[in-house]
Amino acid sequence: MDKRAANLKNCVLVAALLPLVFLAVRSYLGELTANPIEYVSQATGWWTLCFLSITLAITPIRKLFKFQWIFPLRRLFGLIAFSYACVHLATWVVLDQFFDFESMLLDIKDRPYITIGMSAFVITSILAYISRKSIRLALGSQRWVHIHRLIYVIAILGVTHFYLIVKRDTTEPLVFAAIIAVLLAARFIARQKK
């Protein structure tokens, strides 16, 4: 692999870990508010959407500025987003529910925002799995690309999940919705142009 590309990937990876480092520091300092589980849950979810948005922005940026070097970062950011989704889910399973699987299954069934969140996670896991080189080669690039367009579904599900859980102040979910709408529109326009 090109040395610069490898260094760039390492920098991105280290930077992507910083939010978790900050959470750990805040935890040590006791600065996770009176409801730390809620705080961590909200923060990890927010970062998942953040990295998902960055992932979706890679291709439009590459096309717009002709930054070919950015291409290898797409998979990396996608996997970082998936990792944060895993941490977000783990927060729910371990900290919030403490392995109460009966309660969790009921929630997945009855609470729309959890149904939506869980669906988004399942699709994300599938995409994370098929991003592996061996699977990609086995599928062939046509099929791989088609399946990977599910990222648009993940983005919409993710923002909806956030919007549904917010009590009243919908500013943040709506900002994410706007960003993702722009990123999806950019792709749609690009495809029309072809």
Partner: protein, 312 residues
């Protein structure tokens, strides 16, 4: 309903450590500047005046009170921002000096009270209550206050009085959150007259034996422990006896999600999240939510025959 307060044995609800720490805290506050212009928000917002003597109450729970720092740094008070830590940061702009509460409407003796008059007229009690937020977290808070029914009886409601309306201060200068229409301002709440006259319902002027910090709804607020927390209106300036059911802030914001009664009820879910369980602040595992927040033995009779799913 007349209730006579029996003499009850000393009930240690806040650990000695906490009280000792707060004495240190007050010493530090005294050593630092007294001027509000210099003292940072968190110090200024902290309680600085002791209230007493306080009568104990049969209605207090024996559960351990939530930590003072959690009670005063984790608040839903949208008048100061929608973040949980916004009120402690921004509530120092609230000026409680010279606060007046006008009590009127369907009453024979409409009166405007100031805080000194209220404190002289109505002996203070310690009421240690559970408070359950609609967001499914809860606390145990040692309130200082007096039963609302004493105030209502003092102004002599007429036969037309069926409800009580509570109005919070409306002043975007002091309450920067009111500059955005996140809720309809001023914040309004309401109770049915029998709920307002119930001995559990109090007007609170303090917590942990001291004057209310701004972020907790200073200088005077409502506490209705068997209902979701948003019913317990803060920083009250008006109390009106009305004939018709009052409009309430959260019901106006979303009538499908926040009803007039909003009794704590694990059997009636919020449309978007479950009310079966709650997180007691300071605890790890979630708890089962109790009907009427555990106050059913005293309040269930108010709702006998009422469909609590319809009147949520």
């Amino acid at each position: 309903m007349k209730y006579l307060l029996p003499k009850i044995k000393e009930n240690e609800v806040t650990s000695r450590d906490l009280f000792e720490n707060r004495r240190e805290w007050l010493k530090i506050m005294g050593a630092l500047s007294v001027s509000s212009a210099i003292a940072p928000a968190t110090l200024w917002a902290a309680a600085s005046r002791k209230l007493g003597p306080l009568e104990k109450s049969l209605y207090s729970t024996s559960e351990e009170a939530t930590a003072f720092k959690d009670v005063t740094r984790y608040n839903n008070f949208y008048e100061f921002g929608t973040g949980k830590e916004d009120p402690v940061k921004f509530a120092d702009s609230l000026k409680t000096d010279g606060w007046k509460i006008s009590v009127g409407g369907e009453v024979a003796k409409p009166t405007v009270f100031d805080m000194d008059q209220l404190l002289k007229k109505f002996p203070l009690e310690e009421r240690i209550y559970r408070l359950r937020c609609v967001e499914a977290w809860s606390m145990v808070i040692p309130w200082v206050g007096f039963p609302l029914h004493k105030l209502i009886q003092a102004v002599e409601p007429t036969g037309s009085a069926k409800y009580v309306e509570f109005v919070t201060l409306h002043d975007p200068e002091q309450m920067p959150g009111q500059r955005s229409p996140i809720l309809e301002w001023p914040y309004r709440e309401g109770l049915r007259l029998d709920e307002a006259l119930h001995p559990l319902t109090i007007l609170s002027v303090g917590i942990f034996g001291e004057v209310l910090p701004n972020q907790n709804g200073a200088p005077i607020r409502l506490v209705v422990p068997w209902k979701y927390g948003f019913k317990s209106a803060k920083s009250i300036v008006q109390i009106n006896l009305t004939e018709t059911q009052p409009k309430t802030a959260w019901n106006l914001a979303n009538s499908r999600e926040y009803g007039f009664y909003s009794n704590v009820n694990p059997a009636v879910n919020h449309p978007r999240w479950s009310q079966r369980k709650e997180r007691r602040i300071g605890e790890f595992r979630k708890r089962e939510t109790l009907p009427f927040n555990g106050y059913g033995e005293w309040v269930a009779s108010l709702y006998s025959g009422m469909d609590l799913e319809k009147f949520f």
